[in-house]
């Protein structure tokens, strides 16, 4: 099966930021490897990957802190490659903020506008407007160390927006906040960015942050884009094993393609035969999958798309008869998370199938417990076929 091409075009509108064949070498190490992407005006675009994947280097090239080894960055028709940071029409919100510790909140926010040589009345007006936007007017005279983490984050945002940048760069914007505050701040941050209407490129290693905030996500590994798409596309139709595994939880099963019919595929794995409805089997980029019968493939199946039951599952009306998409195993492990429970079902081959079950009722009539034998089953619309 051919690799799905990353979606290069923005979902709508003309490209505002065009990155073409961008490369960055550090000595012998290629940190960013031939990256091209178009980003539309008003988008919040997330670069998602684990540390060392090149996402920060890419962001630093956009900000002008690193000079690209090759390629171009064009923002609204202007080539930015190699432009000094103090000249570039973008501003960055730094990881853990880099607020100036010796200046008040007000002076921190005013630092950018003052450098543009605006008259002081205009600087004051803009700083006051920014502080109102992030609801910190009352804290204008404080120093950064007198603020909480969330307030510092808002000062950093106000400071990076105060010069009215054409492009806002966010480096791990919420990385320094604790989990509960992070969730609240995600929404707040998106609201402010949308209110200002600035186009935004963010870097994060936190997939939830990327999913909730971004309009599109690029999953990066080893300096390359593995997949670019809306959060739901990345999650539901991952382009390859890495993306499937990196985003959320997944069960990956290796098997052989045994049938390629007009509306479905059959993949024989060690424990189970998968019947996969064709329109859902593969990411939309290159249409329906077609493979050679006998080819080795992987089937990706998300834990929440599997039902677990004590008894053999009933074959539903809209599902074809036959022994597909169900398997029996022993509950080896169980983790209770409150709103859902994750079961690890040990199959005959030794594979532990992860199943996530919503706890829709407070008590189950017949709870499934450690050591129980249980059935796992799923619909033919649940899986994705990937290259092995």
């Amino acid at each position: 099966m051919p690799d799905a091409n990353p979606t290069l075009r923005p979902p709508d509108g003309v490209p505002f930021l065009q990155i073409r064949k961008l490369v960055k070498d550090f000595g012998g190490h290629r940190a960013v490897d031939d990256v091209s992407i178009d980003i539309a005006r008003g988008e919040i675009f997330a670069l998602l990957g684990s540390s060392g994947c090149g996402k920060t280097t890419l962001l630093r090239m956009l900000a002008g802190f690193e000079t690209p080894s090759a390629g171009s960055i064009v923002l609204d028709g202007r080539d930015l490659a190699g432009m000094a940071p103090y000249e570039s029409p973008m501003n960055m919100m730094f990881q853990s903020y880099a607020l100036f510790p010796h200046m008040t909140v007000w002076d921190n926010v005013a630092f950018g506008p003052r450098r543009s040589g605006l008259p002081s009345a205009e600087v004051a007006e803009r700083v006051d407007a920014m502080l109102r936007l992030v609801q910190l007017s009352a804290y204008a005279r404080r120093k950064p160390h007198q603020l909480s983490g969330g307030q510092q984050q808002r000062v950093a945002l106000a400071r990076s927006l105060a010069k009215k940048p054409q492009l806002l760069l966010l480096d791990e914007p919420l990385g320094a906040l604790d989990k509960k505050l992070r969730e609240e701040t995600q929404i707040e941050l998106v609201n402010i960015i949308e209110e200002v209407g600035v186009t935004c490129v963010m870097v994060t290693h936190d997939q939830e942050e990327a999913m909730t905030m971004a309009s599109r996500i690029a999953v990066m590994s080893e300096g390359r884009f593995l997949q670019v798409g809306r959060p739901s596309e990345i999650y539901e139709t991952p382009a390859n094993r890495f993306v499937a595994d990196f985003i959320g939880n997944v069960n990956l099963m290796d098997g052989t393609l045994t049938a390629d019919a007009s509306d479905h595929l059959l993949v024989r794995c060690a424990d189970v035969t998968h019947r996969i409805a064709k329109r859902d089997a593969q990411p939309g980029a290159d249409g329906s999958p077609s493979g050679t019968v006998g080819q080795a493939v992987s089937v990706a199946l998300r834990p929440e798309k599997i039902r677990i039951s004590r008894d053999a599952p009933q074959v539903l009306d809209d599902e074809p008869a036959g022994d597909f998409n169900r398997v029996r195993g022993t509950v080896k492990d169980m983790s209770y998370f409150g709103s859902y429970t994750v079961y690890h079902l040990q199959l005959a081959s030794g594979l532990a199938l992860k199943i996530s079950a919503s706890n829709t009722e407070r008590h189950r009539a017949q709870p499934i417990d450690w050591g129980d034998t249980a059935w796992a089953s799923w619909s033919p619309h649940a899986q994705v076929v990937l290259n092995a």
Partner: protein
């Protein structure tokens, strides 16, 4: 927080020792001698000894305090002028050390991390030779055919110094304000560099990136971010240079001239030439007060701003 306090209670004796030993040291070797010097400064002088300030006349204690010396100090401009000269040379030396030391410390702190220990070593290397020897070396270097004197003449610096009234004639470098300040700057430069280096090397360089991102050129970022953030290092270095310079005796004695009477030399003369110990003690007390009072005020202001920032 009960856990840390209970553990600190357990090591109470250790804490007492850690705090107590330096205090004890200061008490025995600073406060007591200072009190003795103060006592001498208000004592009556006999032939070669001074009288006790407290005597007993038929069982009644008699306190004999003489404040004449302090009055002399105020009346005779010699003392006032030498104090002012000391402050002036110390201030000039401090500024020169700052002007030379800051760029040095800055580039040392920004040098490759593998290079930094070597650079630090170079700064401290002069300490391995006797201070006296090094000052004597300058004497040789600055006399008529010394290397430094030849070099200064070769580039015409001596004429510039003469025009600035720092040397009495174009070829006379030794025993001038110039040689004095040169010697003090040379000697005290490491005391400026080390605290500045320690401060600058700890600076968060992302702040400079943030400044650049917001439109500041490297020059503006330096003045708006680096310099204000290194204030503590500047203050510490300046104190370490200024305070010993005010009371410096050896360098003015060896490199200074008749023009450059500093308080250290006046002190020496009172003790050993005039043999007037009470007067010498008075000069010493005045010098300590002159340095300590502004410093204490400065520290108080600093502490208050620190407190206000909390």
């Amino acid at each position: 927080m009960s856990a840390p306090s209970s553990s600190s209670k357990g090591s109470g004796h250790g804490r007492l020792a850690v705090i107590g030993i330096p205090y004890f040291w200061l008490l025995v070797f600073f406060l007591l001698p200072f009190l003795i010097v103060m006592k001498i400064s208000v004592s009556e002088m006999d032939e070669v000894t001074f009288r006790d300030i407290l005597s007993f006349d038929q069982g009644r204690p008699v306190l004999a305090l003489r404040f004449d010396n302090y009055l002399t100090l105020l009346r005779d401009d010699l003392y006032l002028l030498t104090y002012l000269a000391s402050l002036k040379y110390a201030a000039v030396t401090t500024l020169l050390c700052l002007a030379i030391g800051y760029p040095f410390a800055y580039f040392m702190a920004r040098a490759r991390s593998t290079l930094q220990p070597a650079l630090l070593m170079l700064v401290m290397l002069p300490f391995w030779t006797s201070f006296l020897l090094r000052v004597y070396a300058w004497k040789a270097l600055l006399t008529e055919h010394g290397w430094a004197a030849d070099a200064i003449r070769a580039i015409g610096l001596d004429r510039l110094l003469f025009r600035a009234n720092l040397i009495p004639g174009p070829e006379q470098l030794m025993n001038t304000p110039f040689s004095l300040v040169l010697g003090m700057t040379y000697t005290y430069l490491p005391f400026m560099i080390l605290p500045l280096y320690s401060n600058l090397s700890k600076m968060d360089l992302r702040l400079l990136e943030a400044a650049a991102d917001l439109g500041a050129t490297a020059w503006i970022a330096f003045w708006k971010i680096t310099v204000p953030l290194s204030k503590a290092g500047i203050v510490a270095g300046s104190m370490l240079v200024f305070i010993p310079c005010v009371g410096e005796y050896v360098i003015p004695e060896l490199l200074g001239g008749p023009q450059t009477q500093m308080i250290g030399r006046t002190l020496w003369d009172e003790f050993f030439s005039n043999n007037d110990w009470p007067m010498a003690a008075t000069v010493a007390v005045a010098m300590v007060l002159l340095i300590i009072v502004p410093l204490a005020l400065f520290n108080k202001v600093e502490a208050e701003t620190l407190e206000a920032r909390r």
